[in-house]
């Protein structure tokens, strides 16, 4: 079992940017030196609703990327979908607002020690952490191809700058409003053989991750996926965010996706047991 990210810290941070991109908000938070310990795949947990909020739990967001700007120092970028009351509150904050954050949390995408052919697959805002990851992979000499999918074009997040760090980018929408029509998982089997993919990095809805795991099953392709289970605490103390993992001896462990994840080996996750009673199948 992993322990909580040893770099995690709690701080009051200032929002220095909040821009609408498609259906998402690109939110920039000034976090100072903390950027030096944030890795692609890590997430941040943010208090929502202000001092008289009825929302008692933090919301988790993938750290899309970190950078250093001359005016704000170290900043962290999030891609937030205004979904329910917490994310809508966050998206409504004007620049200059203070938020209480805990970051970086969770595991990071594993970076191969030698150059490999990497395929990055993002669903919806799940593409957010993939661009930062792509930069790192490129700097290590990997070839990086990217597939992004969503139900419709406004849910595709693909920033200009980001595109520069990938060798190819293909977009799939279910309604055909952008790129190819269909699911982002459809071309994967072909791409694996055509490009000689060694590792797939994925982030998006659980069904997408499960589908990719099914594709990579019985292949040599490594599948590192960033999962998204409801989290009450984000720091490993509540046991709400568990996923069933197969152990070496075939027994099941329910591991915390906030500290043993969000990035996990897709081959270990027992996707068909998610949301089922693990005892029943034991």
């Amino acid at each position: 079992m992993a322990a909580i990210n040893k770099n995690a810290a709690q701080l009051q941070a200032t929002i220095v940017g909040n821009k609408l991109v498609g259906q998402y908000h690109q939110i920039l938070i000034s976090v100072g030196d903390l950027i030096n310990v944030c890795k692609p795949g890590n997430f941040v947990a943010i208090s929502v609703g202000g001092p008289s909020s009825k929302m008692v739990l933090r919301r988790a967001f993938a750290i899309s990327r970190v950078s250093h700007s001359s005016s704000f120092g170290g900043t962290m970028e999030l891609i937030v979908a205004p979904f329910g009351q917490g994310s809508k509150w966050l998206c409504s904050l004007p620049e200059g607002s203070e938020v209480d954050i805990v970051a970086p949390l969770g595991t990071a995408f594993g970076i191969p020690t030698e150059p490999v052919q990497a395929l990055l697959v993002g669903g919806g805002y799940g593409s957010a952490p993939l661009f930062g990851l792509a930069e790192v992979l490129k700097s290590r000499g990997c070839r990086v191809d990217m597939l992004l999918g969503a139900s419709t074009s406004s849910k595709i997040y693909a920033p200009m700058e980001g595109k520069r760090s990938v060798n190819s980018l293909r977009i799939y929408t279910e309604d055909g409003s952008m790129g190819h029509t269909g699911r982002v998982t459809e071309p994967i089997p072909e791409l694996i053989s055509d490009l000689g993919i060694g590792v797939i990095y994925s982030c998006g809805p659980m069904a997408m991750l499960a589908a990719i795991s099914a594709i990579t099953k019985d292949t040599d392709v490594v599948h590192q996926c960033a999962v998204e289970e409801s989290m009450a605490c984000g720091i490993g103390i509540c046991m709400t965010c568990v996923l069933p993992l197969r152990n070496a001896d075939n027994s099941i462990s329910m591991v915390r996706s906030c500290i043993d994840g969000p990035v996990m080996d897709g081959a270990d996750v027992m996707w068909d047991l998610v949301g089922k009673n693990p005892l029943v199948q034991q």
Binding site: K6, E229, S230, C238, T240, V242, I252, M254, N277, P278
Partner: protein, 314 residues
């Protein structure tokens, strides 16, 4: 820090501060120790442990609710043997005070757990969780049945001997809390933990089914604080000599003081730690300051104050 005597006791166990973690809301302490030093708070109450490993209930295991949350963890844990081997020694090394919470499916399981704990060094007290709502059968919530709860405590008391204080954790979901409290005290509990979560449910309107994998869950957080204050007040009025570990929606020093003047000798912090990993030391500091502002020189004088005032006024 300050002149105030902040210490509290449960049976023969002494704690430098009345602020504890709540069982199931701090795991075994390791994760929170990244945010503050565990020896600086009253005690770590560990997640309720069972005899064998347990995988718990299916996900989703939580739903946020107005000023609260539901959980249906279902007592996931590694089992007492792994716990004693890994977690207790680590906590001892941190110089934390340790309250071990135990849970069983049968009266016998509680006794087995007590036997395994009997000779373990470094434990200050045992919290006996007879009130977890996240079990398949509500009949298994011992604390809903005066007789069953008495038998559990009786079994633990006999097994453990007279040394280690026993704190029985009760459910507010009963018609007559005071009689259940009286029963477990008669059976040998040195103290009472009030309250466990309140049974609740949320329906997911996308699926049109209960949101939680376990269907029902336990309601915690500020939403239930008035229920906790009432339960503590009622039980302290009936059993003024029995120390109460209070809990339920405490998120500030002000809230902690409310439970203390209602009758709690100590206060566990649960859900607040999820929203704020440094909630516990913050609440502890706020409570200390509040007590000083109100002119108290020792915490003990504030315990149950709301009752004493009443006597002098009426």
């Amino acid at each position: 820090m300050s002149a105030i005597d902040f210490s509290t006791t449960f049976g023969n166990a002494w704690f430098p501060s009345p602020i504890f973690t709540a069982s199931g809301c701090a795991s075994s302490g390791k994760e929170l120790s990244q945010f503050f030093d565990l020896k600086d708070i009253g005690a770590v109450v560990t997640k309720s442990i069972m005899n064998k490993e347990r995988l718990g209930r299916p996900t989703p295991r939580m739903a946020e609710t107005p000023s609260g949350m539901l959980n249906s963890i279902g007592l996931q844990g590694p089992g007492i043997d792994v716990f004693l081997e890994k977690d207790v020694p680590w906590l001892v090394a941190q110089k934390a005070r340790i309250v071990v919470s135990i849970a069983g499916e049968t009266v016998e399981e509680y006794s087995t757990l007590a036997r395994k704990l009997r000779s373990v060094a470094g434990i200050s007290a045992i919290e006996v969780n007879i009130s977890c709502p996240n079990v398949e059968n509500r009949g298994l919530v011992f604390a809903c049945d005066p007789d069953a709860s008495r038998r559990v405590i009786d079994g633990v008391r006999r097994t453990i001997g007279g040394e280690l204080p026993i704190i029985a954790k009760l459910s507010p979901d009963v018609t007559d809390l005071v009689s259940i409290a009286r029963g477990v005290v008669d059976a040998g509990a040195d103290g009472l933990a009030l309250i466990n979560t309140v049974l609740g449910m949320v329906i997911n309107l996308d699926t049109m089914r209960p949101h939680l994998g376990g269907k029902t869950g336990g309601l915690s957080g500020p939403a239930i604080r008035p229920i906790a204050v009432r339960a503590i007040y009622q039980v302290h009025a009936a059993l003024p000599k029995v120390p109460i570990l209070g809990m339920g929606g405490v998120a500030s020093g002000r809230d902690a003081l409310e439970l203390i003047v209602a009758g709690a000798s100590g206060v566990s912090i649960g859900t607040a730690s999820f929203g704020n990993p440094t909630a516990i030391p913050q609440i502890q500091n706020e409570l200390k300051k509040l007590l000083e502002e109100k002119g108290f020189t020792q915490l003990k004088d504030a315990i149950g104050y709301a009752h004493r005032e009443e006597q002098s006024h009426e």
